[in-house]
């Protein structure tokens, strides 16, 4: 296995925690040289929300190789445990933010709209968008930490 492919237990959940925190820290106006980094943090969270919406966090990564290698069961177990923790963290954040809204689609739409507003408008984002985005990111960070 390549070093770059190694997967420490819980690596993706740590990564999403870093992303969420970095996005939180960039709610305001950011220097021009930081716009690309800001894009990366917000896009990472927006893509994660889509994974949650479409139930694809736990379904495994696609491997487009003609002769696919067989993965070691320990690696698969570690990866699936990591994916499960991320999905649970999102579900808990969802439940705590909108306890009466079971529809994932509506929840994701609302949070994505808020995050996109903050991402594009920075300090000029609407107060409600900032509040929703902040609540979501803080909740996600907490839940990801709890799953460690």
């Amino acid at each position: 296995m390549l070093v770059a492919e190694s997967n420490q237990q819980g690596e993706m959940r740590v990564l999403y925690g870093i992303l969420a925190r970095a996005a939180m820290e960039r709610f305001g106006k950011v220097p021009k040289e930081e716009t690309e980094s800001r894009d990366i943090y917000f896009l990472g969270i927006l893509r994660l929300l889509d994974m949650y919406r479409f139930d694809s966090i736990k379904s495994g990564a696609p491997v487009g190789i003609l002769e696919t290698p067989t993965f070691h069961p320990d690696y698969l177990a570690s990866e699936q445990e990591d994916q499960g923790a991320i999905e649970n963290a999102l579900a808990s954040t969802h439940a705590s933010m909108r306890p009466n809204q079971t529809d994932k689609n509506a929840f994701v739409e609302e949070v994505k709209a808020a995050l996109e507003n903050v991402h594009k408008r920075g300090a000029g984002a609407s107060t409600s968008a900032r509040a929703i985005a902040k609540e979501f990111l803080e909740g996600l960070i907490q839940e990801l930490k709890r799953s460690k």
């Binding site: 190694s6 894009d39 487009g64 003609l66």
Partner: protein, 444 residues
């Protein structure tokens, strides 16, 4: 020992130098700037996190190190990708097709379109399209891999249609739609509708027991593989089949090899045959052109005979479900530019096969007079779909009249490669000079 955070800071600076040394200047392609910008953005985002990470938070430090490694790996792979090692005319057309499939956000004016780079490795079975799933990114970067020894073997490259299917699965919204409308329909009534069904089937057929993560992984992968086979056939057309069979026969000559990552090859042959029958490509009623009927029969008949001998336990998917899934996938592909393969006009295909048999690349252009009083002439470009060229190439391979010494498999491949290249060049020229005449004094 170096302190981990200091070490990572140093490595970020190293990668900045690496990036400036390679992608900024030395990578000759016009697209290198896009790769440079994307990698720079990734590096800046990681550097910013290395600056603020708590020295005592080893989990975060490890994760950042892993991401920095991924970035370094990507940059060096891009640096080492040499387009001269593969058929770049084919690489360009496959890139256009893949872009249509995996455009993440149509509204974003293509600014977030994924990037593709191509490389060649040793081995006949290294064909791959690696989707990035774990890297931090603005734009995803895909690495398409060809076998180095197959530089001109474009007829085999149609296997990449299957790998692009995996790329489609890397996009969550599209994957969700494909799972619901295609894969679930395709596998309805088969042993692959739940992990427990798969487990029971594996015990009966292979006396294999999988459980937990391994079973969940096999279940997801097997389902995806069937989908990708159908996807490959529908985007590449008939030339997908001989390439697929040529490669898979070498990988698994019995067709029943046990693999946790792929369903039995025989069952996949059977599914593809059912799709082929439904699509009507095999019979192609009413086509009796001299250079088509015989090679069509020679290409398809052995496949049909082989599939008819497959034991019932390996004919896993219901032909009626294959038909329904094929129709559903066709509908989805129709909205993705020109990704859906459309069968050619028989006269056109006959012309291409004839050209190849005569040892000339096939292009479809002519110079004709403009309408009206003007005597100026212009180029009429009626581009040939590269998939028709490859289909014709396979028919030339199966043609009885082919003099195997004079028109070797290698030469047919090269002619197809050249045909795709010429066609692309003419189309580019034609688009650029669309309103300009070819010449004002061309004589008859």
């Amino acid at each position: 020992m170096l302190k981990p955070r200091m070490f990572l800071k140093e490595e970020c600076l190293n990668i900045k130098r690496l990036l400036d040394d390679t992608l900024r200047h030395a990578y000759g392609s016009a697209k290198s700037e896009e790769f440079y910008k994307e990698c720079r953005a990734r590096l800046n985002s990681l550097s910013a996190q290395v600056q603020v990470v708590d020295e005592a938070n080893l989990a975060e430090i490890h994760t950042l190190a892993s991401q920095i490694n991924l970035l370094s790996d990507t940059i060096t792979k891009i640096e080492r990708s040499h387009i001269g090692e593969l058929s770049w005319p084919f690489a360009l057309v496959i890139k256009e097709m893949a872009l249509e499939v995996c455009r993440e956000n149509v509204k974003a004016a293509h600014e977030l379109d994924p990037l593709f780079f191509f490389s060649a490795n040793g081995g006949m079975f290294v064909y791959a399209v690696f989707p990035e799933t774990k890297a931090l990114s603005r734009r995803r970067i895909f690495n398409v891999v060809f076998p180095r020894s197959f530089k001109y073997q474009v007829l085999l490259h149609t296997i990449l249609g299957h790998e692009i299917g995996h790329v489609a699965y890397a996009y969550h919204e599209l994957k969700h739609e494909l799972e619901a409308k295609v894969t679930t329909v395709l596998l309805h009534g088969s042993p692959f509708t739940s992990p427990s069904d798969l487990q029971a089937w594996l015990v009966n057929t292979y006396t294999q027991t999988l459980s937990g993560p391994a079973l969940a992984d096999a279940f997801a992968r097997w389902r995806q593989e069937y989908f990708c086979d159908l996807f490959g056939l529908l985007i590449m057309g008939p030339s997908f089949l001989p390439a697929y069979r040529s490669l898979f026969h070498l990988l698994d000559h019995r067709g029943s090899r046990w693999s946790a990552t792929h369903p039995p090859t025989m069952s996949r042959y059977s599914m593809l045959q059912d799709a082929l029958t439904f699509l009507g490509w095999e019979r192609w009623e009413g086509v009796n052109h001299q250079n088509l009927r015989q090679p069509l029969n020679s290409m398809y008949e052995p496949m049909r005979r082989h599939v008819s001998a497959i034991p019932p336990e390996m004919r896993i998917l219901d032909p009626n479900q294959v038909k329904l899934a094929t129709t559903a996938l066709q509908d989805i592909l129709r909205r993705m530019g020109k990704t859906l393969y459309v069968h050619p006009n028989a006269d056109e295909l006959n012309g291409i096969v004839t050209a190849l048999l005569n040892g000339t690349p096939a292009i479809c252009t002519k110079i004709e007079a403009r309408k009206g009083k003007s005597k100026k002439r212009h180029l009429v470009n009626d581009p040939i779909d590269f998939r028709h060229i490859l289909f014709a190439g396979w028919l030339a391979v199966y043609h009885d009249a082919r003099d195997k010494d004079d028109l070797s498999l290698f030469k047919i491949n090269r002619l197809c490669d050249r045909s795709i290249l010429h066609q692309d060049a003419i189309s580019t020229w034609s688009e650029h000079f669309e309103k300009e005449p070819v010449s004002s004094n061309v004589s008859n």
